[in-house]
Symmetry: C2
Subunit: 383 residues, 2 copies
Amino acid sequence: MARIRNPERAARNRHTSLERGMSGAASIALPEPFQLYRGGSLKGAQIAYESWGRLSPARDNAILLFTGLSPSAHAAATEQDPSPGWWQRMIGPNLALDTSRYFVICANSLGSCFGSTGPASIDPATGRRYAVEFPELAVEDIASSAYAAVRALGIEQLAAVVGASLGGMSVVAFASQFPQGARRLITISGSPAASPFAIALRSVQREAILRDPDWQGGHYTPEHPPRSGMRLARKLGTITYRSAAELSQRFGREPLGGNARPLSQFAPRFAIEGYLETQAERFVRIFDPNCYLYLSSAMDRFDLAEHGGSFSAALQAVQSESVLVLGVESDMLFPINEQAAIAEAFEQNGLPTRFVRLPSLEGHDAFLVDFARFGSELRRFLD
Amino acid sequence: MARIRNPERAARNRHTSLERGMSGAASIALPEPFQLYRGGSLKGAQIAYESWGRLSPARDNAILLFTGLSPSAHAAATEQDPSPGWWQRMIGPNLALDTSRYFVICANSLGSCFGSTGPASIDPATGRRYAVEFPELAVEDIASSAYAAVRALGIEQLAAVVGASLGGMSVVAFASQFPQGARRLITISGSPAASPFAIALRSVQREAILRDPDWQGGHYTPEHPPRSGMRLARKLGTITYRSAAELSQRFGREPLGGNARPLSQFAPRFAIEGYLETQAERFVRIFDPNCYLYLSSAMDRFDLAEHGGSFSAALQAVQSESVLVLGVESDMLFPINEQAAIAEAFEQNGLPTRFVRLPSLEGHDAFLVDFARFGSELRRFLD
């Protein structure tokens, strides 16, 4: 994605096109130096985003969508890229995020590798990839960089901020830092601070990458990434993104299709192992290992209580009109009690808060699958 | 442990010493060739065991104890090895396995590395370690080899067969193969066939070892094992052996003790990560990677329904007087519905079956921790 040479002129042009109502992908330069939450800063950084719908002349109908750890900003098809996005069934005319009313912007997270600046980007100071020299990244930075991008589009206050998983964390990080930044907040399968179970799993995922000899202290080449470590990390993630009950229902003890006899005694034998294999191979092709390490660490370290001493104190200045907190009872990675804690913190500040425990079977990933339940909750809340 | 040169004389001497009531460790030669469930066979194989209490003159008071994946036969202190065993608080005079009444034998599983024959043993045919040339191993073989060892001690029918985790699988594998082999059966946190969730986790654990370059196709030297893979496998195991709730209670988000600042940005930061580290380092020192791969695969492949077409059919010939099935509600690896399925299969055959859902917080590991609940259930059942 080309760097923007004249941010102000680019922004003016962009405002006009946004009001014309084009869906598309673009990137926006962050103010520089861009200060990070844990003390570092970035120069020449940018946020990639995609958008759908038409920005109102008052610029008051924008919804900012944060993503989970691994998706790009391609949440739905655009004119440039008609391939389905990761929330295709949620974004569009008369869908949950209704593009006939709202201007929807999805930002690729700072630290990720799909157009936004991250460890895989070139450091303008050295001409080389940042790799492990990228500054410490926090969930707060994902929120503040996306908001800076939105403001560069001329939008001061969002109609709503929405996110699931890491995106759900990003929504509360947004609210604590920009208490007047959004009229509505929707946090889905998020957490105010990860549990030791989730930390332990992510720690093992990171160690799989860090101990892969191909990681090379972070200085692998793009052609030769730490594949084994990434495969293991993604397989473990895949296991925990669903629920044991859903895996039982979907795979049972079905043998792996194809050749009847496995090639070796330790080769995959069961259909569930084939599923992990598919997910891992797809991920290794698209995701940068250092970006993964940074985003994963940021999730472990996020603690909403850092903003004032408690979850509730962190949200005491929030001016939003209403809050929707969704969680899934079968989620093992971001368990429902963490969404309950988010809802409680908003309620303690007197904010009108709707907390819904969804009975979906799909665990943490339910927001990517159970569109019926999630869609109707979002639609009801936004209407 | 020395190989036994004259099994028959050794067995006679042993019978006498068992009736004298010594606790101790020994090994016993398996009949040869020892036929394995999936078609292979072993020559010169042995089972290591430890025992406590006194064998009655009628040889009718023996309890056979199967272990989980990783423990040795050292379930309690013996005269030779006074260090505490892994079920120290369950085995002894007036304890759950009451050595004032019962003669308790714990067998190291076939395929393991604590004295019983397994992939780390020397193949007498080649003079080299079996490594990946060890024949395919099944849970059925763990049961049949331990029973062969018990019969070599002159014991035809056991007063009880007990086991937890893989040991709980071994108990049902025992029952289906030797329906008259035990008057009582106690299966704890076991499974009649692993779930896809458990298979997926073990598949990732094995892949961590298989992809460690130090595994070398199974031909590592004992001095240079695939440490990284074994560390990852054990860390992942450790996470799933407890419940998320227990980890939250025990560790919360406490920082790692010791030096205030982690050495690198990806180094462990939280106490939970230090716990994983301790468990992993301990395991790498004591357990053989190929043995781990074989035992782990055997657990995935075990399916009680192979014996007759259904769980119930597999147990239809069982002659035991009574059955105790224990499970833990917080167990994610061997979930309570699997113990319910075991209990149901016994009940369908008209066997007096007591099924208890224990509310322990410690998940799959509860049998190693919650001695109050487990001890009282075992004592009540055996009295």
